[in-house]
């Protein structure tokens, strides 16, 4: 089977599995909205304050939603033994990881991007900033899923795995958050946001190249 064939087969399988359990996607989106809702309640309903922090709140809430969805990335395959099978198959494990991460992004990152305008409007963000926000999420969330795959692989079978993940991933997520919010802030201040978006894209490309290898190594460490 070719690499592309392997990739497609895993991707389709994972997407079909999620389609059968649409609750996963709903849970991610619900968390996103709930997390963002806490901020107005916490800092008060003043439109100026909210508009000022809107892009940061949307980004931070989206990041947390991705973080919470990661534990299901390899769990099902580990529980039914599919992971051992995939590790023993001739297909490179990194390609399997990449396919699974792609499926994960399509069922978390993508819905979050589509949901972002609604949350941004709830937070009194300026409408003209919504495209910038969506663009920065579109370029940044792939990095979140890819780096997240490393965390999911390393904590597979760990005690308190879900509680571990934020601690492990926060230092790795910080640059994505900074450049993601930076792009929107630049747009808000009438500055070009190209540099931020390019750095964000560079981060996603770097993660695309390295994260599947690191995550595959992490999975192997958990299997043998």
């Amino acid at each position: 089977m070719s690499l592309a064939g392997t990739f497609t087969a895993i991707l389709v399988r994972d997407l079909a599995r999620t389609a059968g359990r649409s609750g996963d996607v709903v849970a991610v989106l619900a968390f996103f909205v709930v997390a963002a809702t806490l901020f107005p309640l916490g800092v008060g309903p003043g439109p100026q304050v909210l508009a000022r922090i809107a892009s940061g709140v949307v980004w931070a809430s989206a990041l947390l939603a991705v973080l919470l969805s990661l534990d299901r990335l390899f769990d099902a395959d580990r529980n039914d033994g599919a992971l051992e099978g995939l590790a023993l198959s001739p297909a490179p494990l990194a390609v399997v990881v990449l396919a699974k991460t792609t499926a994960h992004w399509l069922t978390t990152g993508l819905p979050l991007i589509l949901m972002a305008p609604l949350v941004a409007i709830m937070l009194q963000a300026e409408l003209r900033l919504v495209p910038a926000l969506m663009a920065s999420l579109a370029l940044g969330t792939p990095a979140l899923s890819l780096i997240g795959a490393i965390g999911a692989a390393l904590t597979l079978g760990a005690r308190r795995g879900a509680a571990l993940m934020p601690l492990l991933l926060l230092p790795l997520y910080v640059p994505v958050l900074i450049f993601g919010v930076g792009a929107v802030e630049a747009a808000a201040n009438g500055l070009p946001m190209g540099p931020h978006l390019m750095l964000l894209a560079a981060g996603s490309v770097l993660a695309l190249a390295l994260a599947p290898l690191a995550a595959a190594a992490g999975l192997r460490a958990g299997l043998d």
Binding site: T155, A158, G161, L164, P171, P175, G203, G218
Partner: protein, 242 residues
């Protein structure tokens, strides 16, 4: 280098290094403290408060130096599967985390009289805080599994991934801060430092390094003995089972 992967030889080396390193480190720290607290003149700008530098700066250096050691040991362990590299990494992590915590706390104590605040989201402070999280993550991940080797490998991968990330963190955080607000605080501008202030700093830095080496040797030795004890227990249990 592979010769040193033998646990017996490694154990002998750490045993031989441990005590001299500890004594020399302690002596240097005492000398450095005396020179720094009693001999060096007060700083023309900061008065007496600058003296915290003699603990703060070496601790911050050690925080980074330790991470380099942790990452190199982890990489050696992942590539060549040398158990002693893992023993070294395990020994380094808590020491590195402690130096990072000392750097954060002493910086905070210095910040209060100098900047009027315990904490600012300054680029440097933020990246050191994230470094502290990386150390914590390493240690927590090591202990999160029933099989020790599984935790060791996962944590080693995390340590190596962290190295790729450190320059990115540094760069992004530097940039983030200049983007959000003009730097209210720029680093202490000292183009030249008087020898009476420099010597204690060098003594402290070398002393901290030697103490770090001694701590790592002690922890590595303990870890080797624990592993030996575990395998002897296993053998004894197997012997009883037969």
């Amino acid at each position: 280098m592979h010769r040193y992967a033998n646990p017996t030889l490694y154990g002998r080396i750490v045993d031989r290094v441990r005590r001299p390193a500890a004594l020399a480190g302690l002596a240097l720290i005492l000398v450095g403290l005396y020179l720094g607290l009693f001999v060096a003149p007060p700083d023309y700008q900061q008065g007496e408060s600058f003296r915290i530098m003699y603990v703060h700066v070496p601790a911050a250096w050690m925080a980074m130096f330790s991470y380099a050691g942790l990452a190199v040991s982890s990489a050696v362990y992942l590539i060549w599967r040398h158990g002693v590299a893992d023993v070294t990494a395990k020994a380094i992590a808590p020491a590195g985390a402690a130096f990072t915590a000392i750097a954060l706390v002493t910086g905070s104590l210095w910040g209060q009289p100098m900047w009027g605040t315990w904490w600012v989201w300054d680029a440097r402070l933020t990246s050191v805080l994230l470094l502290f999280f990386l150390y914590l993550g390493y240690m927590v991940l090591r202990d999160a599994f029933d099989a020790p080797e599984r935790g060791a490998k996962a944590a080693a991968i995390l340590a190596v991934v962290g190295v790729v990330n450190l320059p990115i963190i540094k760069f992004s955080v530097d940039w983030w801060n200049t983007l959000h607000q003009p730097a209210t605080i720029s680093k202490l501008d000292a183009p030249s430092i008087h020898p009476s202030m420099l010597w204690p700093l060098l003594a402290m830095a070398l002393g901290f390094t030697l103490i770090f080496v001694a701590i790592v040797c002690l922890r590595a030795r303990t870890e080797l003995l624990e592993r030996r004890a575990r395998s002897l227990e296993m053998q004894a249990a197997l012997g009883r089972a037969e």
